[in-house]
């Protein structure tokens, strides 16, 4: 291939392409914790988050991305969580949020 320096490349698409994403791990996560599907995205968890208070970590966003098959970076983001459990106390849907953090880390970290 000709090595031409164009000064730019083809920008990566930002779209979440569910046709291309592999939902296997997402399905496994939902299978182990079906209650996660009942998230209505109210954002309470993120609002109280101890780690979110200090960084831009957004639990709601990360678990939603994981459910869409967007795994890249999710493990590292989940690692910002301190597992303090405040989110679990405020979730209106009664989701075991600490369990979700641990489950996502386990599935994405393969342990």
């Amino acid at each position: 291939m000709a090595a031409i320096n164009w000064g730019y490349g083809i920008s990566k698409p930002r779209a979440i392409d569910i046709d291309r994403n592999n939902l296997r791990r997402s399905d496994e996560i939902l299978h182990e914790m079906p209650e996660l599907q009942s998230c209505i995205g109210c954002g309470s968890c993120t609002a109280v988050c101890t780690a979110g208070n200090l960084t831009e970590f957004n639990f709601r966003k990360v678990h939603t991305l994981v459910r869409r098959g967007e795994y890249e970076g999710a493990y590292e983001l989940m690692n910002r969580c301190m597992l303090c459990g405040k989110c679990r106390l405020v979730c209106p849907r009664g989701i075991n949020t600490r369990g979700v953090v641990m489950l996502i880390k386990r599935k994405l970290g393969d342990f």
Binding site: A15, E35, G41, T64, R68, E70
Partner: protein, 336 residues
């Protein structure tokens, strides 16, 4: 002296009003523009949240109307009315002592939202199509295949400035959940995605249904509105939306796109309102005298309204309102 009430519309609202009036010893005549009574419910499969077959509501009503000997005129389109009767399209006048407007609603025409491809792509359906096909037992893709991925789009023709339907149609959310469950039961191997702006589960048992759809049926709810639909090479439909919860655009291809069409006001509400000086709400629905104490009175003497002619309602609310309307009519006739 035998009193007679003219009831315009032979759907569940009209029939129930007639039956309640009959129970109070007041006769009535039902004017139905279609060839049979039953209205929209005739084409409906099952009712939320109990999955009761629509026929289990409709058939007893129709039988009771027949048994009570209530006069039903089918093919009778009303073009004008006042407190003492209605005028039909052919010019005949039907006189009575009071008039009940139970003309119902119109389903939003999904073709207007052409970006969703209804009427263009074979496998884009409306919620009404799904009910009809479930009734006929013909629900499948156009080529007879079983869909592997289905998307529902909420709020088609509801809460949409662009098509002048600002109101919420209320029942589409729960219909979307109900149909998602029905489809999931029919096609367990299919993935079902509901694209929504808000999920409004206002009725008793609805929220439980919603959770059941999520947790037990694994229906995916994506908070984002589909912006457009396009065909793919293998005859599927590619849809685009923003996944607002992740703040990123989302796209996927589906085998079937189901548009949850909203309830809109009848086009001839304006004509009827003008002929009888009724008030219309900005949404085009008839505005009752007030929403609390006179919710079934039109404000015009001798004219009552019931059911979805005043606002989107579900079947249960409509039936209850019909009883209230009959009561108000009886009261009116007694005091006149």
């Amino acid at each position: 002296m035998k009193r007679r009430v003219v009831i315009i519309g032979g759907g569940v609202a009209g029939m129930q009003t007639a039956l309640r009036l009959h129970a109070a010893g007041i006769g009535s005549v039902i004017l139905e523009k279609d060839s049979a009574t039953g209205g929209k419910l005739r084409d409906w499969h099952k009712l939320f949240p109990t999955f009761t077959p629509a026929s289990e509501v409709l058939d007893p009503l129709r039988r009771a109307v027949g048994a009570a000997g209530i006069e039903v005129r089918t093919g009778a389109e009303v073009v004008g009315l006042d407190g003492r009767g209605a005028v039909l399209a052919d010019g005949t006048r039907i006189d009575g002592d009071a008039v009940v407007v139970a003309t119902g609603f119109t389903l939003f025409d999904a073709r207007i939202k052409e970006e969703y491809g209804y009427g263009i792509y074979d496998n884009v359906l409306t919620s009404a199509d799904v009910e009809r096909m479930l009734n006929e037992g013909t629900l499948s893709m156009k080529n007879g295949d079983r869909p592997r991925r289905i998307a529902f789009l909420h709020c088609v023709g509801s809460r949409d400035e662009k098509v002048c339907q600002r109101h919420c149609s209320r029942v589409c959310c729960v219909t979307g959940v109900k149909q998602a469950m029905e489809l999931k039961e029919r096609f367990p191997e299919a993935d079902v995605f509901n694209f929504y702006m808000d999920i409004r589960m206002f009725g008793s048992g609805y929220e439980e249904m919603y959770r059941e759809a999520q947790v037990r049926h694994n229906v995916h709810f994506v908070r984002g509105r589909i912006s457009e639909a396009a065909p793919t090479i293998d005859g599927r439909i590619q849809i685009k939306a923003e996944d607002t919860l992740t703040g990123r655009p989302l796209r996927m291809s589906v085998d079937m796109l189901i548009l949850l069409v909203g309830m809109r006001a009848n086009d001839d509400n304006r004509r009827l309102a003008d002929s009888a000086s009724l008030t219309l709400a900005p949404s085009g629905f008839v505005q009752p005298a007030d929403p609390f104490l006179h919710s079934v009175e039109s404000g015009a003497e001798g004219i009552f309204c019931v059911g979805t002619v005043t606002a989107p309602k579900n079947v249960g609310e409509t039936l209850a309102e019909a009883a209230a309307a009959a009561d108000a009519v009886a009261d009116y006739l007694k005091n006149r």
